[in-house]
Every structure is written in structure tokens, then in C-alpha cells.
Amino acid sequence: MTAVTTAPTALRQRTEIEARPAGFFADVVTVAGRALRAVPRDLESVIPPVFIALFFFLVNVGTLQRLTEHNIPNFDFRAFQMPTAILLGVTGVSRAPALVIDVQNGYFDRLLLTPVRRLAILLGHLVADVAVAAALTVPIIIVGFLLGVRFESGPLGIVVFIGIAALWSLAFSGFGYAIALKTGNPGAVNSTFLLFFPFLFLTTSYVPKSQLTGWLKVVASWNPVTYLLEGLRSLVSIGWNAGDLAKALLAVAIVGALSMSLCFAALRGRIRRG
């Protein structure tokens, strides 16, 4: 290492630099920008979910399309399956594992030392997650198009479809952030997949609710993802159905309210514990 021998410019400009609060919006944008810059450097966090979603989309269509369409009149399994694939791709995708690393390596403390609003640290990550989730839906929708899926709700319906999927991703990611902030343990964050399975498989992932029987039908009718899927499917197969969309948004809101409550409580706890 070379010792510094010249008088640095930094020492001559004190009066020109003055710290001040950047503002809540600016804080969120700054934190979100950092989180988004990290995504291309951390592709292993986004490629596997999309790969898995596309894999199951193609395999399920190949396996079940003839069976389901033969048994259910006027049923388009490809259109039915695409929202399932989308949710497989975006559920649980978040920067929560990266936040755990920030906690572990002390960078979270470095952020807390600045005048940044504590809430903005979390919201910045969440904003980035929404953007990433929206981007992840695109390749799945393209594959859907290639398979012949069309949106009855038109181009605006595609935008709303992506928006609802991204909001769902955000709602679910709150659980990951809650665990990340509560435990600071990457293994614990990965355990959110335990929530992933009941949410995504005890529902109408493969067949309509009318085809479910027994306990699964009961559980599915209580699972918010059932209504989320119905809302997304309505945009693909029906067009604009306000009732289905409202139920989908309400389902996202309920899960989001729960996860975000846990998440913000965990943030407060971490700040309090220091």
C-alpha cells in the first residue's frame, strides 16, 4: 500500500459539503437503485425461479392439457396455467437474502448511521422487488404467447396482469424481509419456502375450483391465492371482470397487510436492538 503524501483536496473543501436529510422519496430511490444494480450481479437469485416457472409451465401443459380440456368443456389449459406459472416465478423473489448479508457484514449499520429514514431502507428494497417481479413475468408471458395464449382483456389487461403479479410478489416478500430482519440468518430466510408450498399448491394451481374435492376444496376456498389466480385468469380468459379483479386485489392486500405488519415490526425490533 502506498502512503498518502499529498495534501488531499478533500481537506480543503469542508465548507462546500454539508450533510442534510435527502428527503424520504430520494432515500427510497437511492436504496432501490442500489438494490436494482445488485440484481444483474446476483442473477442466481432470479434465474432459477423463472426457469422453474417455465419448466413447470411447459411440462404441465404437455402433461395435462389434453386430459383437462377433454374433461372440462370450453377449457383452455394453457391460459389457465399461465397465471400459475407466473406466481411460481415471482413468489418469494426478493432482496431479503441480500438484506441478511447487509445485516451480517455490517452494511446495514452503515446505512443506519446515515440520516436515511429507516422505513426508506425497507421500502427501497420493496420497490426494487416490484420492478424485478414485473420484469420476471415478461419471459413467462412471452412463452405463453408462443403457446397460443391470448389476453381477452387486451394490452391494458397485460399491464394490469403484470401489476397484480408484482404486487403479489411484494406481498409475499414481506415474510422474507420479516424473517431477514428478525433473525439476520440466511437459512431462516430460505425457510419462507415453507409458506410457498401451501400458498401455491393448496389452491387451484392445476384445475378449476369446481374440480377440487374434499378437504382440498375447503382449504382452497380459504387460500387467498385461489382468488388471486381467479383474478389473473379472468384477465386472460374472460376480459375485464371487476368482481374477480377486486377479489384478487383484496387477497393480495390481506396477505400484504399481514406480511408488512410483520416486516415493519421486525425492522423496528432490529433498530431497537441495535
Partner: protein, 321 residues
């Protein structure tokens, strides 16, 4: 609002009922380099985290730059910079990205932040490495980047928590020089925790010695050492040095005797004149002398006198009774 740069009044911090800091009182004046010296686990970092608003005191109150760390943490954060014990960096960002982000969070405009990154790049001498991912940096580079991140907004008060732990001697010398320069040229108040006695001795105008969560002594390094005596005779003997402490204490010119295990520290105002008499006193007691040396006191002698332990490589070494 008080004019003291840093003030702690009976600050206590407990974790699960166990006190990590048990009633720290201190005042640091603006423009001062204050050394906070103690072994690992003494409560240095916990005190710094409280002063930096990362941790609230369980009891007591503290203010930094005149603002209460609990009631006005936002005001405190605008005025302080901190390089904590572990370089708190994101290995996935480049050095320049990290510094620019820091600047933006302190309200600097995009251009001002960019300019500041260039200035600090010169200061910390990272050159083109600033455009590399931090994960590729050496330990010394990370330390310097961490220091730059703490300086991005030109803070009034800089907290350095063991800034040279783990650094090689050359890197350590660079950090020392930077600390001196920041204090001398910018008048920056610096609160420096360290487990290295020579670091506190070389940098700090005043030193607070903390042990088991309490400040056990405070003063300029010279004052603290003078309290031990102007010279120290160190005698290592065969057997228990305490058994002959009383005999040595009676020697003319001896101010005080501290005996721990087989080592005896004899404080005296005139070492060269006294060392012979000390050797004779030990010989008369029939205690074989392994070695006898004369030196000026160190902060370690101060620590030993106050706590009965030495600081060795950051951990306390209890002298065998």
C-alpha cells in the same frame, strides 16, 4: 444545547440484564482526539454504538455535537461519521458506487456526490480500484474505503472503532497519519477506540481507559503515565514477586510497587539512581532475579496498576497471583 463535542452521563447499556457498559461518564471537547482504550469486551464498541445512535442506552444520557443521541438522533447522524470495528461495506458494489450512495443519503446532489468521490479517491489512494467490486479489495483497502465512507459528508465528529485492528504496520501508519491530518487540518473531533496501547499513546490528546464497562482512568497519556512514576523498573524474579514487595517499597526513591506473579513494577522518580538499590534489596531477600530493566512507563503499566491485568493483543492477561 451544550458545547461539548461528546458527553456521556452515567451511561449504562445492558443486554439481557448483563451490563456491557456500567456507568460511563466522559466529556470530549471539540477538536480533540480522544482515545478510548481497553481490551476486547471492555465496552468500547458498545459505547461507540450508543454515541452513533445505533443503540439506545439502558440508563443515563449522552449527547453528540450538542444533540441527545436518543431524542435527536437525526441531528446527531448529520454531524458524525463512523468507521465501525468491521469495515461495513457491501462487497457487491464498487467502491465508487458505495461512496456515491453514501453521499446521496447525506443529501448531496448527484454532482456533489460524484465530486466528493473523486476527492476521497485521492485521499484514500484507491485509484482505479474504486471502480472495482469491493469484494476484490484487500483488508487495508476496505479499511480505507470505510474511512472514506465515514468522511463523505465532512462530519464534525468522527468515530473510529478500532480502525487499525488487523492491519499491517504500513497500513496502520497510513491510518494514523490520516487521523492526525483530519484533526489538524479540519479540526475534526475524533473519538478513537483501540486495544493498542501505542495507538492511543501516539494519537490521542486524552485517553479514557475502560475496563469491565467502566472508565477506570482518564487523562493525557503523559499524565496517566506520570501517575505511575517517571521511570519504571521491571524486575522478573523466580517465584512470587509479591513476597518481596514490602522490602523493595522501603528502598529510597521508590514511589510505589506493583507485584503480579513473578513480575514487579517499581515506580520511581529517578530510575538510574534507584535500580541498583532495588537489585540489592531483591538479593537481600534471597530472590533470584531473572532480569531487571529500566524504562519509561507505558499505558499498559497504567492499565496494570489500575486493574491488575495487562492488555496483551487486545485481551486482558491476568497476572498470576
Amino acid at each position: 444545547m451544550n458545547t461539548t463535542a461528546i458527553r456521556c452521563e452515567s451511561v449504562v447499556r445492558e443486554f439481557g440484564g448483563v451490563a456491557a457498559v456500567s456507568g460511563v461518564d466522559l466529556d470530549v471537547e471539540p477538536g480533540e482526539i480522544y482515545g478510548f482504550l481497553g481490551p476486547n469486551g471492555a465496552g468500547k464498541s458498545t459505547t461507540v454504538r450508543m454515541l452513533c445512535t445505533l443503540l439506545a442506552p439502558t440508563y443515563g444520557c449522552a449527547s453528540v455535537a450538542g444533540f441527545d443521541v436518543v431524542q435527536q438522533p437525526g441531528e446527531v447522524r448529520l454531524r458524525i461519521g463512523a468507521a465501525l470495528q468491521e469495515a461495513a461495506l457491501d462487497p457487491r458494489q464498487t467502491g465508487a458506487e458505495l461512496l456515491q450512495l453514501q453521499g446521496r443519503l447525506y443529501g448531496l446532489s448527484r454532482d456533489a456526490a460524484r465530486g466528493r468521490v473523486d476527492e476521497l479517491g485521492d485521499l484514500i489512494d484507491l485509484g482505479e480500484a474504486l471502480d472495482r467490486r469491493i469484494g476484490t479489495y484487500s483488508g487495508g483497502m476496505k479499511r480505507r474505503l470505510d474511512l472514506a465512507a465515514a468522511l463523505i459528508h465532512n462530519p464534525q465528529i468522527l468515530f473510529l472503532d478500532e480502525p487499525t485492528t488487523g492491519l499491517d504496520p504500513v497500513s496502520r501508519a497510513v491510518v494514523w497519519e490520516e487521523v492526525r491530518r483530519l484533526n489538524r487540518d479540519l479540526g475534526m473531533t475524533i473519538f478513537l477506540t483501540t486495544q493498542y496501547l501505542e495507538e492511543a499513546d501516539a494519537l490521542a490528546g486524552r485517553v479514557g481507559i475502560i475496563d469491565h464497562g467502566r472508565i477506570v482512568a482518564e487523562g493525557t497519556p503523559n499524565d496517566l503515565k506520570r501517575a505511575v512514576g517517571s521511570d519504571v523498573i521491571v524486575a522478573r524474579v523466580e517465584g512470587d514477586a509479591r513476597s518481596v514487595g514490602a522490602a523493595v517499597e522501603r528502598v529510597d526513591g521508590v514511589i510505589g510497587v506493583e507485584a503480579h506473579g513473578n513480575e514487579m513494577l517499581v515506580s520511581t522518580g529517578d530510575g538510574p539512581a534507584t535500580i541498583g538499590a532495588v537489585a540489592v534489596a531483591l538479593a537481600r531477600c534471597g530472590v533470584p532475579i531473572r532480569d531487571l530493566t529500566l524504562r519509561t512507563p507505558t499505558l499498559d503499566d497504567v492499565f496494570l496498576e489500575l486493574t491488575g491485568t495487562r492488555i496483551a493483543n487486545g485481551t486482558t492477561t491476568k497476572e498470576a497471583a
